[in-house]
Amino acid sequence: MNNILNHIGIENYIFLSVILFCIGVFGVLYRRNAIIVFMSIEIMLNAVNLLFVAFSTYHQDAQGQVFVFFSMAVAAAEVAVGLAILVSIFRNLGSITIDNLKNLKG
């Protein structure tokens, strides 16, 4: 069976996920809208997932995919809870601009 990586090369996947990850980081830093921040986090998660899958293929091992599977489960849970929190924040403050969320300040 022909390994797909022989055509593409693992380094391309690495660069792709790094850039994707950085885009996620950038989004988290750049945007104030909590929803967008959330989306950026999802992008980061996906970048890592992509790498997992790539390495899974590289090692010819299913462990990486299993990990992605769990990571998706966690991501789903996280998004559900996170969005619920956002909803209740929006309900209380009328906005989801993260700069307004300063209640943690000591």
């Binding site: 660069f15 929803i35 967008i36 790539a54 899974s56 462990q63 619920a84 989801i96």
Partner: protein
């Protein structure tokens, strides 16, 4: 340049551009749409890597469940228009700087690392069909698997509790 590489490049271009657009769109709805496209392209990568199961799950979970959640939330909050006040310039500058920095650092590291690329071995074993994954999940990863379900259950209950309207205290 093989077909597969071309497909990869196209997919990668879609992934990166939609990711960028997700962040830069002023309207959250647009962001969400771009993100869906991004997720689809990632699913394409998965397919390219021959992990069909993950690709399907990815589409179901991310593009299906998660993005729908996002869209619902956005609509719930009525965020379909840009209400975001722009951040001060210094913050934006900081964001760009740190973006460049982290890119530079990570890429520099990967470039300077010992090359791991060599001959890609193929054992020929099936390691990523649904059958194999299912066996692994329910044998080796039995306990984490169950915990994942508990986690989801807890998340569900938590979400319900959080989004329930509190009774006004008098």
């Amino acid at each position: 340049m093989s077909t597969i590489l071309i497909i990869f490049c196209v997919l990668a271009a879609i992934t990166l551009s939609t990711a960028f657009l997700t962040i830069f769109s002023k309207n959250p709805i647009h962001s969400a749409i771009y993100l869906v496209i991004c997720f689809f392209s990632i699913a394409g990568h998965y397919l390219l890597l021959n992990s069909q199961f993950l690709a399907i799950v990815h589409i179901i979970v991310y593009s299906g469940a998660i993005m729908i959640l996002f869209l619902f939330t956005i609509m719930l909050m009525n965020l379909n228009e840009e209400r975001e006040v722009h951040r001060p310039r210094i913050t934006r500058l900081g964001a760009i700087v740190s973006f460049c920095l982290i890119c530079l650092v990570l890429i520099a590291i990967f470039i300077n690392s010992k090359p791991i690329v060599g001959e890609y071995v193929t054992t020929g074993e099936d390691y990523q069909s649904i059958k194999v994954l299912g066996k692994i999940l329910l044998n080796e990863y039995m306990v984490p698997f169950e915990f994942a379900s508990i986690l989801l259950l807890v998340a569900m209950i938590g979400t319900v509790l959080l989004s329930k309207k509190e009774k006004l205290q008098k």
